[in-house]
Amino acid sequence: MAHSPFILQEQEFQKLKTVLARLCVECVARVVFLVDRDGQTIAFNGDIGDMDTTSFASLAAGNVAATNSMAKLIGEDGFPAVFHEGERESIFISVIGRSLLVVVFDERSTLGLVKLRTKRASYEVAAILEEASRQSQTFAANNVSAFADITDEDIDSLFS
């Protein structure tokens, strides 16, 4: 069967947004994303312009999945961080359990600064996600999901 859904509540979502907002300022980043390893955006902060954030999240997850598999082929457990350097924009990805903290920055910042600030923020993000995961399991166990009484008509209406 499919794995249980991950349910993120308003309070944890706002806590994550606060951490990302602070990290964005501290890193002088263009945008900061929190993405799950399946490629879905959990939260972000910053200037996304016309960036396709859904595709970006999916590709970031694919990227980390591929590099982790490469790591295993050379005897590493995985790479805790991935860095892509561009002429103007660069991307730093830090792996936090089942999630990825992705920082997009330009020449106004430096890799050293981004690594330093991201490391600190990652502890906070990990703690919030752990709490969210606990709540998600309790929520599912108590069967208080808003979807328990979805009807066939609700589903069919999506395709009408």
Binding site: M1, F6, Q14, D52, G62, F147, L158
Partner: protein
């Protein structure tokens, strides 16, 4: 793994199109992409070789509408069909909520269908899934080709658990949306149990 965000009131689900090389997985996605209103879809991303064979995956997000006040978004992925890209296929199955197996109806591709289906079961197992418990649809593609194996024979060979079976001609869209609807419906029905 379905991701439900109560703050932004969104449900995100992942559907993977699986099958042997050149069976029409990317064509399914391309047809869905071409036939969907711009506001309901994101970009179609194809990580392909120079000869347009899928190298890692194709991806497109599709927004279907609202259920119980939650925006419902499906992330559609294909896997590379060629046998030697197995490592990529395993990665793409991570977090899957529903699978479409696209079979090639040509007789000479029967062995490839069977091998790919076996590979799907095996790769799902390594990710902690059981095909028998997962939302799943079988699509019999390329029904327009002369000499296509009869539907009954293909179904007998490839159907695993009484899953819905759809005949398709992906380039012209026959059966493409029926397949998608069937798997999406199963995925959303699973949410009732959460």
């Amino acid at each position: 793994m379905t991701f439900i965000n109560y703050a932004s009131r969104e449900i995100n689900c992942k559907i993977v199109y699986y099958g042997p090389g050149l069976c029409g997985k990317t064509t399914n996605l391309q047809y869905i992409y071409d036939s969907t209103a711009p506001q309901a879809k994101g970009k179609l991303i194809s990580l392909a070789t120079e000869t347009d064979r899928t190298l890692f995956f194709d991806f497109m997000p599709l927004e279907l509408g609202t259920v119980r006040g939650f925006k419902t978004r499906f992330h559609l992925y294909t896997v590379p069909g060629q046998v030697y890209y197995d490592a990529s296929r395993k990665l793409i199955l991570k977090g899957v909520d529903g699978v479409v197996f696209v079979a090639d109806s040509q007789e000479e591709r029967m062995d490839a269908n069977v091998e790919s289906l076996y590979n799907l079961e095996e790769n799902l197992q390594t990710q902690g899934y059981d095909l028998m418990q997962l939302p799943y649809v079988l699509q019999l593609n390329k029904r327009d080709l002369p000499g296509a194996v009869p539907v009954e024979d293909l179904t007998y060979e490839l159907q695993k658990k009484g899953e819905p079976v759809y005949e398709a001609v992906a380039p012209v869209g026959t059966g493409v949306f029926d397949t998608l609807k069937a798997v999406a419906k199963q995925v959303l029905t699973e949410l009732r149990k959460t």
